[in-house]
Assembly symmetry: C2
Homo-oligomer: 415 residues x 2
Amino acid sequence: MTSPGSVGVVQARLAEFDQPLALSCGQTLPSYQLAYETYGTLNAAHSNAILICHALSGTHHVAGTYDGQPDNIGWWDNMVGPGKPVDTNRFFVVGVNNLGGCHGSTGPASTNPATGHPWGSSFPFVTVEDWVHAQARLADRLGIQRFAAVMGGSLGGMQALQWSLAYPDRLSHALVIAAAPKLSTQNIGFNEVARQAIVTDPDFNGGNFIEAGVVPRRGLRLARMLGHITYLSDDAMHEKFGRELVGGQQRFSLEVDFAIESYLRYQGDKFSSRFDANSYLIMTKALDYFDPAASFGEGDLSRALSRARASFLVASFNSDWRFSPARSREIVKAVLDNRLPVAYAEIDAPQGHDAFLMDNPDYQSLVATYLQRVAAECQAALPLAGAAVATTDTGLGPTLDKATNASASSTMGGA
Amino acid sequence: MTSPGSVGVVQARLAEFDQPLALSCGQTLPSYQLAYETYGTLNAAHSNAILICHALSGTHHVAGTYDGQPDNIGWWDNMVGPGKPVDTNRFFVVGVNNLGGCHGSTGPASTNPATGHPWGSSFPFVTVEDWVHAQARLADRLGIQRFAAVMGGSLGGMQALQWSLAYPDRLSHALVIAAAPKLSTQNIGFNEVARQAIVTDPDFNGGNFIEAGVVPRRGLRLARMLGHITYLSDDAMHEKFGRELVGGQQRFSLEVDFAIESYLRYQGDKFSSRFDANSYLIMTKALDYFDPAASFGEGDLSRALSRARASFLVASFNSDWRFSPARSREIVKAVLDNRLPVAYAEIDAPQGHDAFLMDNPDYQSLVATYLQRVAAECQAALPLAGAAVATTDTGLGPTLDKATNASASSTMGGA
């Protein structure tokens, strides 16, 4: 056991897939690539892998930094690393950018090989189901037949839940954090305002803004500003900004008056220069569409979860009004209805939905303790045959060496 | 006592004011007009008047319909009328459009007499304080020295509260419904997103869109869509729209999928064709700025309310997350600290903030019962001298006849 640290300098990898992927929308992606990172070492039994799924605007860069970019720290660096709750001394951790994203995996900003132009508006609306299928292929490529755990917060937690339904025999544990079994009407409403902000931005150009040489920054900025409000609790915003006036007094103009305005504008501006507008549309639609009870159980989540075989850790945060604890308890109930093991914690945290990304001793020790048990199970597990893995994706051939390289280069921070 | 009915066909009136109005922002409006309506008859003692203050997008058209426009029903028609909780058989009810609005009172869409052009972006940012001063002048004009009650919901409730501070001797009762003593950080955040949607609309033209011959519809539409979400409870949205798909199945496109999307787009479109963008900015800024504790009590609402002399009815709705019951209780506490009479009710209503506009027997009987007591007080009151009233606004002369006409024409629905 090392002292808490960083995985250090890591390197993103690209996995190319030439086998067509049939999507929920009815279209087929003829080929695609996934950007991913790994930390830690896959054990001989290939039994210690953990997949981390990202939320709306997340990426495969989960932990560590990049060479020469010491400030480019992974989004869950406080959770993943040597001695951290997701302990890279014990686990082989995989982070992956989802299809439709804009950080290396194939998405609307990528070139459509059939046309030689950016996909833009013609990129298909991918779903959580599609992401999980693509992630399963990446697992094949990495020689992982079964994950010790699949985990994520928010939309990432939905993917962990979906894994338990789509590939019940390919994960032992699902860690579903700050998630919901489906969006509420209000959740969809907020997403729709964000989407309309983007699509009515004159620079959106029907989604083909790259070819037009512009960026719908206004729309993305508004979408992010709105999103941010829903990520934070009212109390957290009050605590951080209150009614503080940046100029000390009311300006009686459209300039920034309150500190919260300044914060939201800054967050919006920053996001609008780094995120692809079509990706934002796709990610929010994937959120809206996710509804495993409808897909698998005719509206009954318990029935949908009858397919699951995993053990669950479900965690919520008491100040999260975007995906409130009640939404997590719906998942817990459905798991219990199926007599599957489930641990549930409603964590006292003031930050709101964003709490799943924050330092919190209760939260971090919950995940740490749960995963220590999972690590003990991994050590007891029998090795799986590598050949059996490769046959699940026959067109591609093994790329285990590549993954091992990525893994080796990513454990510099560990001891 | 008549059976519940409508005030019938009513007529809006305009009151012109040539006496300059000094505003909170430091500017002075040299002249202005206020659109208003009245229902019922002012008694001989001038003691039975109730002022109704409107919320963000409300108007002076509180009750009844207009000639030839049977569907143009006042926004609080279920509350105001003969036999209704605000009983026009007993009370002389005044509705007024606030300064900066866009329904007849002087606002950014009005012509600036100094330039002959629309005010546009040069219209001053008026405040709740300014509105109350302007309303007091209208009261002078109508011969009302003291209101039996000033009442309103949401931003309207804030005006009722402000009346109790600015003119403590000019109202007997303040009915503060679904309000808050000041906006929370989150409230300001939502307003800021709405404002940024408007000001970044390329058609906004720095606020001078009328002269440019365009309307920033995109921005107004987004502002209203967002607003609507905050007016409704999550449960109410779920109850009304759920996750219903308008086409029966997911479209995997940017067309309308969910019924809630259709509803929000419709509301946004409707609003964007009827409301002035600059007025929306001004109204939201007035909301943000309102903070009587800061203005009068150095941050202490109890100290601010030491000026008040009115009796209070404070009402909140349990599903209102925009101005939650806790915000109303802050007002109640401050009133109690000053040993003033206060009745408080937290009403069980599923609709969220909009509940203050909805039919609800508990709510309506609360207001009815409270105002029956107020009506009894009015009958016991001594007549005030009309001459004494007129001297408070000497430059204008009496216009009581005008008000009486409006009142006479507005009681057709009564018996």
